[in-house]
């Protein structure tokens, strides 16, 4: 399969993740959709790495994975903290930071 196919899959996954961030109301699921977007990017990176034949893309993908792990860590910690304070787990309800 040519690289183009992998890029197409990557684009689809990324777009789905973006739509999911906009649509879902549970913060956990929003974070999952963020993961989707990161994974889509990862796929594109690895595909390009295969295309060029050097390992830069793969290293990038590994680092992205690391960052995603950290971000998930913090995000889930936030969600837990919110849950602890008996606030609703709904991004539409959590809107005190408004103008």
């Amino acid at each position: 399969m040519s690289i183009a196919w992998y890029l197409a899959v990557s684009a689809i996954v990324f777009a789905l993740g973006a739509a999911g961030v906009m649509v879902r109301r549970n913060p956990l699921v929003v974070l999952l959709c963020l993961e989707l977007m990161l994974n889509g990017a990862n796929l594109a990176l690895v595909a390009f790495s295969r295309m060029w034949g050097n390992g830069d893309g793969q290293v990038f993908a590994l680092i992205v994975m690391t960052v995603a792990a950290c971000e998930v860590c913090i995000g889930l910690g936030l969600v837990v903290a919110i849950y602890r304070r008996r606030l609703p787990i709904d991004v539409d309800e959590l809107r005190e930071l408004q103008g």
Binding site: M1, S2, I3, A4, Y6, L7, V9, A11, I12, V13, F14, A15, L16, A19, G20, M22, V23, R24, R25, N26, P27, L28, V29, L32, E35, L36, N42, L43, V46, A47, S49, R50, M51, W52, G53, G55, Q58, V59, I63, M65, T66, A68, A69, C70, E71, C73, I74, L76, G77, V80, A81, I82, Y83, R84, R85, R86, L87, I89, D92, E96
Partner: protein, 224 residues
């Protein structure tokens, strides 16, 4: 052979993604993401990224998703009457502020983004995109092997490697702080539990975080 595998893995990845976006129960969404990640690992293998595929399975699907599962089990959360796979009409008619418009808008925006990305990625002038990739010579330190990646990480990308590890450390500390039970000034028990003014055990964070800092708990009156 690889084409068939590609299509299976590709379909699995997309199906998992759709599942994450559309499944009502967050737990099922997590499981859908796991399936997606595994499919992606297969795709990585097809692209000769052995180490990345392994890391994907072990780290992402293995550790991160397990963490997700724990938190979902603890927090739960249900989306009432949110989008279901079969309920397209209700999908478009959502709840929440500007729900319907936002769902429709999200669909449109997502579609627009997809189209643009496809144009960008596939319409690029790079001829190599149409090809199968660079020539590949197998070997112990071939492209994609752990040794290959390790060498890259420790030579060319050393700084990145170290910074990433530092980032992990910070994240770990942050997670502990955020979700941990710390004693408040003038209160026993955790934040969010009623403090009665006794048991003044201070944590370092209490020293640098004064009262009335505008936390959400204070905002809702759960903490004074």
């Amino acid at each position: 052979m690889s084409a068939a595998l590609f299509f299976v893995a590709g379909f699995g990845a997309i199906a998992g993604a759709v599942g994450v976006v559309m499944l009502r129960d967050p737990f099922y969404a997590v499981l859908a993401l796991v399936a997606h990640l595994l499919s992606l690992a297969v795709l990585f293998l097809l692209l000769r990224a052995e180490f990345v595929a392994a890391a994907q399975v072990v780290v992402y699907a293995g550790a991160v998703m397990v963490l997700y599962v724990f938190v979902v089990a603890y927090v739960g959360g249900r989306e009432d009457r949110s989008s279901g796979i079969g309920q397209l009409g209700e999908l478009l008619r959502g709840r929440g502020p500007g729900g319907a418009q936002l769902r429709l808008g999200a669909a449109i925006l997502g579609g627009a983004l997809l189209v643009e990305l496809l144009i960008a990625l596939l319409g690029t002038g790079l001829k190599a995109v149409g090809g199968a990739g660079a020539p590949y010579a197998p070997g112990p330190r071939a492209f994609g092997t752990p040794a290959y990646i390790g060498q890259l990480l420790l030579t060319r990308f050393l700084l990145v490697f170290e910074v990433a590890s530092f980032l992990l450390l910070i994240a770990a500390v942050g997670a502990v702080v955020l979700a941990g039970r710390s004693r408040t000034i003038g209160g026993r028990g955790g934040i969010g539990e009623d403090g009665d003014g006794t048991g003044r055990v201070l944590t370092p964070l209490d020293l640098i975080r004064p009262h009335e800092t505008g936390t959400m708990a204070e905002g809702v009156g759960a903490r004074k």
